[in-house]
Amino acid sequence: MRGRKNKDLFLGILIWFSAIVTVIVLVGIIGYILINGMPHVNLRFLTSEYSASKNGSKGILPMIINTVYVVILTLLLAVPICIGGAIYLTQYARQGKTVKLIRFATEVLSGIPSVIYGLFGYAVFVVMFQLRLSILSGSLTMMICILPIIIRTTEEALLAVPDAYREGGLALGAGKLRVTLGIVLPCALPGIRTGIVLAIGRIVGETAALLFTVGVSGNFLPKGENIFTALFGHLFEQGNTLALHLYNSAMNGKDPPSVPFATAATLLILVFILNRFAALASGQKKKATK
């Protein structure tokens, strides 16, 4: 009897120990990055240009703009596809082999590591389509990466819409397309929003898939003769994102050590904010369905 008590005590301590280790690791990593990085994050750092020379300005404005480019372009490409796919899976398709195949493919996509996406994007978009290292080929690669994330959340959101809404719409004489786009989709918006925020988090933090598709040397602001060429021409230029910049400046050792720390802190805070948004959006969804 006593041996068992000791064993229980031992296992209980082990469980508490593991949980504490998990928390300490988390707090340790976040704390270390923020404590060392935050003092260097200021308005000048966030809004000035970057030059690779030793004593040049070391701001991250170009990287922020590039990140925004990649995020917006990727979402423009991916969101319609994901929503269309999720609508097909939940509203149109009959359960069977086709649906199983699509679900399986989505699951496989979410398991492929980003370095493989990078190689694929390099072979297809950079070399075959002749897009070279550019924000466009990076976004096309990221589009495939985030398909499973948005498809899954959208699918769940669409499934959560009560059938009565659908039936009500159909009974009033609306066609299936009208019911889907006019009634079901708006009801599922909060869920879709969560998916999109999660996807943004993934794009912002992504490095390996972008390393071979947008390159690490695009440290300049969009420029051109007029606003049109500046805005759209930038899509075909290399664009260093925040995460890539962190990797590059940490590995190169050319920048003063405060640069990667400050970049890491900025990135971390960005990810936290997105995480919070995702939690808020899904909280809203839960309330709405209750």
Binding site: R4, D8, I15, W16, S18, A19, V21, T22, V23, V25, L26, G28, I29, I30, Y32, I33, I83, G84, G85, I87, Y88, Y92, R103, A105, E107, V108, S110, G111, I112, P113, V115, I116, G118, L119, F120, Y122, V124, Q130, I144, L147, T153, L177, V204, G205, T207, A208, L211, G224, T229, F232, G233, L235, A243, Y247, A250, A264, L267, V271, L274, A279
Partner: protein
Amino acid sequence: MVLLLIKHYTLSSVAFFLGFVSAVVQTAFSSSLREAFIGQGVERFSSWMGYGWTLFLFFSLIASACALFLSGIENTAENIFKLTAFISVGAVGLITVYMFVSGIPAIAKIGFFDFVFGTRWAPVGTEVSFGILNMILASIFGCIGAIMIGVPIGLLTAVFLAEIAPKRLASIIRPAVELLAGIPSVIYGFWGMKVLVPSIREFSTKIGYNSTGSGLAAVIIILSIMILPTIIRVAETALRSVPESYTEAALALGNTKISTIFSVQIPAARSGILAGIILGVGRAIGETMAVIMVAGNIVQFPSLFSSVRPMTAGIAFEMGYAEAGLHRQALFAIGLILFIFIMFVNLSFSYLSGKGVRADARQKK
């Protein structure tokens, strides 16, 4: 009458097919037109759009117009939704095909056994040699080590969250674990580079090794931290889905809470826990950025305190400077080997998740 006899998709699919063929032909010949593509910004866009892809778009438009005309807006919409749904299937197909197409040539040239079991990796120089055994071993050892550290801690944390923790505490720790899953891998790598590597260096000099600190030990620790959230999430879901009656029966027979957990609940949840471990393996083998920043990147037989280079790091490290030719092809071949590993892991996960684990447990990465 004739039009009605044609099934509505025949015409449109013919147009679509024509467009696609012309697009592919144009792309295939475009390497000879490479000079034409040197241009800036918008000019490059127009030349990229060359006649093949313009034709593709044109025929696709005709196809959709035909479909609209012949089958009405409802069917058209359904077909469009269907098309978008199949894009992920197409993507998986394309990735598989491309990994094989770009990986096979190097393996064929080097020879499968020399490639996979060769121990000398010297891609540049006069006597080139492409043997990736040491990279494969580094990947596998790193993964095994991460599983050995990460799984016990993750599983026990999952037990803590599911059974032991007071509700308040669990509701603080659970979002924290989610946060851990959301941190970009490059930040893990940076932390490892700044904190882990120096402390391992100090530790190894203390016990008599002379090392830089980067190496298998750092890789293992970083990877075991990174797979924690995956394992915790999946294991917690699995533990929670164990029927209440099992637990109650065990408690009624006089078991303590702890012994119920270890002798009833964990065995009952084992297929779910195994699925979590497999997911963790997939993440650990495929992880690139965090690994490349702490591994040291010298290709040699992996040992704890000396520099190693796992497969993923090998690809990412050399893609930057590899010249087109056998070197780059060899990197794609490493990618192919990695891809085959990952597909194997994926398929076993799907097999297990068919056996009662909810597939959405792997949500978010």
